[in-house]
């Protein structure tokens, strides 16, 4: 399958990008950082073509639908959105070194999808046969991706802040943007993610209401998405609350992303068994 080959090429491009960013941090040679971004960018282009091809392949198989219908397709799409959001941030603010803390997320996703998940194209079951699928999944994952980028930036913040206290500027971490800038970028990434998550929850509720007559039923997936929303709402208020600025806000961002990942993967992997009692 041609899309499968292209997904592999994209994975390799993300690996190369991550390694180049690591080399960039270690050596501080600017051209390595540029190559890292270029590699991520070309990987994104290849992956975009691959997603388009997979979409087309599903139509050729006679089961045409957007490639967002199972775990494999969602993990691939998640990686794509992470790289997209990162590159937009890079384009806008030009702090290249952030790539070293964001590309690993995208690489992890692609590697898992390519090596560990079934990549067969399946026809859509009745519950997913709706245009809402596209709106809901796209908004949610763009939101998740912005949170992934924010999490990477927060980890940098925490490293930088710890190292900053050490004498002599703290070695490698001294090369990171100043904590003030990282704090601001963290906020900006969440500023993008929060409205998208809100829209994702609203489109999900609209779909549920249209398909089942209940916009909210406290199902574990819904509840966890609300938990994520609460955590980031707390983050946004933390910025204007005395004693919550900086380090605590960075931790909230990391916790928020952990909750996001649990909402996305954990609910299906761990809670489905328990949840089956309830149904």
């Amino acid at each position: 399958m041609t899309s499968s080959l292209l997904f592999n090429i994209a994975t390799i491009a993300y690996l190369a990008s991550m390694l180049l960013f690591f080399a960039f941090i270690a050596s501080r040679v600017a051209s390595l950082g540029l190559l890292g971004s270029a590699s991520a960018c070309s990987g994104l282009v290849v992956q975009s073509v691959a997603i388009g091809l997979r979409w087309r392949e599903s139509y050729i198989m006679g089961v045409g639908h957007a490639p967002l219908s199972n775990l494999y397709e969602s993990v691939v799409f998640f990686s794509w959105t992470i790289v997209l959001i990162y590159l937009l941030l890079d384009l806008r603010y030009r702090y290249r070194v952030i790539g070293a803390f964001v590309m690993p997320f995208a690489l992890l996703g692609m590697t898992w999808a390519q090596l560990g998940l079934d990549n067969g194209i399946e026809p859509l079951v009745p519950a997913l046969q709706s245009n809402w699928l596209l709106y809901h999944v796209v908004t949610c994952f763009l939101g998740y991706a912005a949170f992934a980028v924010a999490c990477g930036i927060s980890i940098m913040y925490l490293i930088r802040e710890t190292a900053g206290a050490a004498p002599a500027g703290g070695g490698t971490a001294g090369f990171f943007p100043p904590v003030k800038v990282l704090d601001d970028l963290n906020y900006r990434a969440i500023m993008v993610g929060f409205p998208l998550l809100t829209l994702g929850i609203v489109t999900g509720a609209a779909w549920a209401n249209y398909a089942w007559g209940t916009y909210w039923s406290w199902d574990p997936k819904e509840t966890w998405s609300l938990i994520v929303w609460f955590v980031y709402a707390a983050f946004l208020h933390a910025r204007i609350t005395r004693g919550w600025v900086g380090r605590r806000a960075a931790w909230l961002s990391v916790i928020g992303f952990a909750a996001t990942i649990f909402c996305y993967l954990g609910v299906n992997l761990f809670l489905s068994g328990l949840h089956s009692y309830g149904k």
Binding site: P126, V202, A205
Partner: protein
């Protein structure tokens, strides 16, 4: 101020406080986890035994089995609502003044407080300069308001002042959603109904064992399920008709509904949810010598009691066995018989082959079963809902999405200009994204410089 006043003041301040907002948001986030780990609603017997009576009692007392409706969770949501209403009430009046009654003159104190400002010397008179500045601001920023004060002109221009209100719109949206949800639970219902093909219902089962009258009859004309080659379901479809006084209603006659495409009539919506078999099968049971014969009817999806104790149910049935067993003919059924002592046997019984039925009975040592006839039909399972609050909820959601967008991505940008003979002072500020405004202000300053005195430096 007496102690009572200060106490109520302190209470009001804490209700309005951001610390309370943070605490409530994080408490809601953490406690919400409970209901995703502990099963909600009707408990399976094996779960009840697995946790033991002590835990069961504790969980029940704390409302963990319906935790999102438990008194303490509702209280938390109520506290959140009170907190955001109170803090909005406290801060809104001042923000409202900023938006509706801005400071329109630039005095020295204000100028010094502004992060961005510039002063130009220009040879023209105040009146000339004013006219030019009105033109420049109008084309580069926003149409200014002009105030004259002792021969000095003050210009004031602003962009999207109302975006300062966006965060309160988001707060309000949460309250609106709560109102919608409460309206839905007070005036709406959720129900469920099974309708066999050809049958009709005028009532559905609601929550807590209530029956709800529809006020009309809903008939299921047909149900069909189709599958992909892989065995995965492709489509579940019911054809429904609304009957009023026994007659099909125009426009609601033979309406197909599928998952993701429901039918709504008089505010009540029917959603395709499940399906099953609804046929009936008739058997004769007798002793091997033909005595004690009786006829029993078994529903496709249920069990029937046998005259001698125990029961039976139908695994599968056909009205013509020939395609499956060449050389034989007529109806046949594969049945499962449960003896009174708990033993289970699977037997194929026929209508046209009594000798085979007798043979099976001898082998198993039980009564003789023969299959007389049967019909196979389906029933459709429909989710039924009426929610008059849903429109309010969508209004709240819309307000929230628009509010969040405006709160994050729009900023209130203000520019003041003070003009006297020979001098122009410009200042500006923003409530958000100061770096972006600095660039925009710098461009404005360059434009003014170019317009007022071409080629001359400040």
């Amino acid at each position: 101020m007496n102690t009572e006043r200060t106490l109520s003041r302190a209470l009001w301040d804490s209700i309005c406080s951001l610390k309370l907002a943070m605490t409530l948001l994080l408490t809601l986030a953490i406690t919400s986890i409970i209901g995703t780990v502990i099963p909600q609603g009707n408990l399976a017997p094996q779960y009840v035994t697995s946790i033991g009576p002590a835990k069961l009692k504790l969980y029940q007392t704390l409302g963990f089995f319906d935790m999102y409706h438990s008194w303490w969770f509702v209280l938390l949501l109520g506290a959140l609502a009170a907190n955001l209403a109170a803090c909005s009430c406290k801060r809104l009046p001042q923000i409202w003044r900023t938006v509706t009654r801005p400071v329109t003159t630039l005095d020295e104190g204000l100028r010094k407080s502004l992060p961005n400002h510039a002063t130009f010397a220009a040879p023209q008179s105040a009146r000339d300069l004013k006219d030019r500045m009105v033109g420049i601001l109008g084309s580069c920023f926003a149409k200014p308001l002009v105030t004259e004060q002792d021969g000095v002109y003050h210009l004031y221009a602003e962009k999207t002042p109302w975006c300062r209100l966006a965060v309160y719109a988001v707060h309000l949206s949460i309250l609106v959603i709560f109102v919608g949800a409460i309206a839905g639970s007070l005036f709406g219902f959720k129900g469920y109904v099974n309708i066999p093909e050809g049958g009709g219902v005028s009532q559905v089962a609601g929550a807590g064992g209530k029956t709800i009258d529809l006020g009309f009859v809903l008939r299921c004309d047909k149900f069909s399920a189709s599958f992909y080659d892989t065995g995965a379901p492709r489509e579940f479809k019911s054809v429904l008709t609304v009957l009023q006084n026994g007659k099909p209603l125009q426009g609601f006659d033979h309406v197909p509904i599928i998952v993701n495409d429901p039918l709504t009539y008089r505010g009540i919506t029917f959603y395709q949810s499940s399906y099953g078999k609804a046929g009936r099968h008739v058997f004769r049971v007798s002793d091997p010598d033909g005595g004690n014969a009786s006829t029993i009817t078994v529903p496709s999806d249920g069990e029937a009691r046998l005259p001698g104790g125990g029961g039976m149910h139908v695994l599968e049935a056909t009205q013509d066995v020939a395609p499956f067993e060449p050389g034989r003919s007529g109806p046949a059924a594969n049945i499962e018989v449960h003896g009174a002592a708990g033993q289970t046997q699977r037997i194929v019984v026929y209508a046209n082959h009594p000798e085979l039925n007798l043979q099976s009975a001898r082998k198993n040592g039980g009564p003789v079963f023969s299959y007389l006839s049967g019909s196979e039909s389906m029933y459709t399972g429909l989710q039924v809902a009426r929610d008059p609050g849903v429109g309010i909820v969508w209004l709240g959601c819309l307000l929230m999405v628009v509010g969040v967008y405006c709160a994050f991505f729009l900023s209130h940008r203000r520019v003041w200009v003070r003009i006297k003979d020979g001098e122009v002072v410009v200042g500006g500020n923003t409530n958000k994204n100061p770096a972006g405004f600095e660039l925009a202000f710098e461009r404005l300053v360059q434009t003014i410089k170019g317009e007022l005195a071409p080629g001359e430096k400040k």
